[in-house]
């Protein structure tokens, strides 16, 4: 199984719009790589370039040792699952599954063997005679997976394959996908805008915004140490609270939150605190006043929406870039995730604390994370 290497790949569309900007990415052999970003960030274009459906404007794409820029899609030995599945509506499930093999002039017996193998693996035996129009969303999704798997490709490309499923089915298919990858070990590139899928499925995730790679790393690493404000706001649900603040004499101050940050030079910063890092304060913990507006009990935790006395930095994921929006003067919206026993009353003001090491600092000018000692 070969890996996939993108080197300074750029895609500029005819209108001049740059969809992918100097993207470099090394996907190891057998790795499950997630390209994650908001819609229109270029992740799907990147995938389509790997598939051979788009030609890069510049840069090189390698599959294994082979530069494939000039290689047509069918000769790249890749398989792709499309967001809308792209099942051939006029063929039965069995014919859909066998189609890529028949196109490669595989002997009939071998086609039948592989099709039934894949059908069994994905639980499609009962559906073989139906047409795509007679299948439910989840079944179609499995057929699409099957059609990609049946060829035993070297690289497996998935473009938001779960986005058309309902929530429950999505969770099940997510687990199924992970098991499948564990079993087959095929190099996989998976595009999603759903950061839960990104976190749960990927060996590594590449966060993309505005056609540029924002951060590349293991999911936990990206979550624990976001490289910049965009990643901080994008990965994690609910998103990280980002407050405008400044560092003075080894302390970061944002509203009434004062966090000791020894060794960090003075200057304007964004102070990032994940909702799940906020807890009822224990002794000596830095804390801030939190005005409770709405409480959403989820059973295992409660999500508390409210306001803190600081200036908010909104990271607009919808606009696909790290647009920084200051809002509401000195009263910022914030979110906290608390255990159910600490459920506050709506309308009350509570104190919430945070461990100093769980506070993220970003340079206010560049948006980049500030290393802490």
């Amino acid at each position: 199984m070969p890996g996939v290497t993108l080197e300074a790949v750029t895609k500029r569309f005819a209108g001049g719009a740059v969809a992918v900007d100097e993207l470099s990415l090394e996907i190891a052999d057998g790795e499950f790589m997630i390209l994650v970003g908001s819609s229109g960030c270029g992740k799907t274009t990147a995938l389509r370039m790997i598939a051979g459906l788009e030609t890069p404007t510049s840069g090189t794409i390698q599959i294994g040792d082979r530069v494939v820029n000039e290689v047509s899609a069918r000769d790249r030995d890749i398989a792709m699952v499309f967001q809308n599945y792209a099942l051939y509506p006029h063929m039965t499930v069995a014919r859909n599954l066998g189609y890529p093999l028949r196109q490669r002039r595989m002997p009939r017996g071998e086609v039948a063997r592989r099709v039934s193998e894949v059908a069994e693996m994905l639980g499609l035996e009962e559906l073989m005679k139906r047409r795509p129009g007679q299948l439910s969303g989840g079944q179609r999704q499995r057929v699409a997976m099957g059609r990609a798997l049946v060829r035993e490709p070297e690289v497996f490309l998935l473009d938001e394959p779960l986005s058309n499923l309902d929530a429950k089915l999505r969770v099940q298919m997510r687990a199924a996908l992970k098991r499948l990858h564990g079993r087959l070990g095929v190099t996989t590139v998976y595009v999603t805008h759903d950061q839960v899928e990104a976190m749960t499925l990927g060996d590594r995730i590449a966060v993309i915004s505005d056609g540029k790679l924002q951060q590349l790393g293991a999911p936990q690493e990206v979550y624990d140490r976001p490289a910049n404000v965009f990643v901080a706001g994008f990965i994690g649900s609910p998103p990280m609270n980002l407050l405008r603040g400044r560092v003075r004499d080894g302390s970061a101050v944002a509203g009434d939150l004062v966090v000791p940050v020894p060794g960090v030079p003075d200057g304007d910063v964004y102070v990032g605190v994940r909702p799940e890092s906020l807890t009822p304060p224990r002794n000596g913990m830095p804390s801030l006043g939190f005005e409770v507006a709405v409480v959403e009990p989820l059973g295992d935790e409660v999500i508390v929406h409210g306001f803190v006395g600081a200036e908010l930095v909104g990271v607009s994921a919808d606009e696909g870039d790290a647009a920084l929006v200051a809002a509401n003067g000195h009263r910022a919206e914030a979110v906290a995730c608390l255990p159910p026993r600490d459920r506050p009353a709506e309308g009350s003001t509570i104190q919430l604390g945070v461990e100093p090491e769980e506070v993220h600092l970003f340079d206010a000018e560049t948006g980049l994370a500030i290393a802490r000692g």
């Binding site: 459906l53 079944q139 199924a176 079993r183």
Partner: protein
């Protein structure tokens, strides 16, 4: 370890209760539009009915004035007389060859060109397409003579080949199929590309099977057009041996004297295949008019 089937999804949504019927009012058992459309339909039927009536009359009855709308006796003999007056069977076969060949040619060549216009990016595509559309506005009478000269140079005057060749592909067919091809999801073609299908393979294995409604429409329109075509056969065909029906029937119409009853009997017979096609493919027919806005 095998991957479990993700879930069993309920195949159907629960049935919703039917919408409550609106409070009863005095209602016609048909749409009000029918009050207008039924008389119009009746007017349209008059020539057809008259054609059938005349085909059953004697020569005297057919030419009498005022026209005799209810024949006193029925003369089915007109049909055999018309059949024998001219080589009707030969005309029929010629028409069938002409129509089927042009239908086949249009389906094939228009598909190829339409697919290129719909999906392949090439230099000058848009300009070429506009030029193609512009040719739709040129009446056949204008290109009649050049077309004849080309066919003559090819040595095809008074042959079925000469009759068929200029009608093997049409700008209208290309335009119609292109519009249809563009409505098909591009992902299907991309998936087929990844699955190892060539351009031509995509057209024949994916695009055309999904375009049956459009192909049927084009086929019917072309069949009707070729079957009823008179002008081009008149120009290119001299001999009775190669004449299609409409041209052959005109032989029943003399310069000084026309046997109207025989002509109408021949015309009724000539329209039977059209009627059959219409009845068999009524659905596509209606769609085609709705789809193209052209009849």
């Amino acid at each position: 370890m095998s991957v479990q089937p993700a879930v069993s999804v309920p195949e159907r949504f629960p049935r919703l209760p039917d919408a409550q019927p609106s409070p009863r009012r005095a209602r016609l058992p048909f749409s009000a539009w029918h009050l207008l459309l039924a008389p119009v339909a009746a007017i349209m039927l008059v020539p057809l009915v008259w054609m059938v009536i005349v085909s059953l009359e004697t020569r005297q009855q057919a030419t009498s004035f005022p026209p005799q709308l209810i024949p006193s006796s029925i003369h089915l003999g007109n049909y055999s007389a018309a059949w024998n007056a001219v080589p009707f069977g030969q005309f029929f076969v010629n028409s069938l060859i002409y129509s089927l060949a042009t239908v086949a040619g249009n389906l094939l060549f228009c598909s190829l060109a339409a697919y290129a216009f719909a999906r392949i990016r090439f230099f000058g595509r848009e300009v070429l397409f506009v030029v193609l559309l512009a040719t739709l506005m040129v009446p056949f009478q204008v290109i009649l003579i050049p077309t004849f000269l080309i066919v003559k140079k090819l040595g095809l005057v008074d042959t079925l080949g000469g009759l068929i060749m200029p009608n093997l592909c049409s700008a209208f067919g290309i335009f119609m199929l292109r519009q249809f091809f563009r409505t098909l999801p591009i992902e299907l073609e991309e998936a087929a590309r990844i699955d190892g299908t060539s351009r031509l393979g995509i057209l024949f294995k994916i695009v055309l099977p999904l375009s049956l409604p459009a192909l049927a429409t084009l086929g019917i329109i072309q069949f009707m057009w070729s079957w009823n075509d008179f002008l081009w056969p008149l120009i290119i065909i001299d001999s009775q041996k190669h004449a299609p029906l409409q041209l052959g029937l005109s032989q029943l119409q003399g310069a000084h004297f026309t046997q109207w009853n025989l002509l109408m009997a021949g015309t009724v017979m000539s329209q039977i295949p059209m009627l059959a096609v219409f009845l068999l493919a009524q659905r596509w027919f209606i769609r085609s008019v709705a789809f193209t806005g052209i009849k």
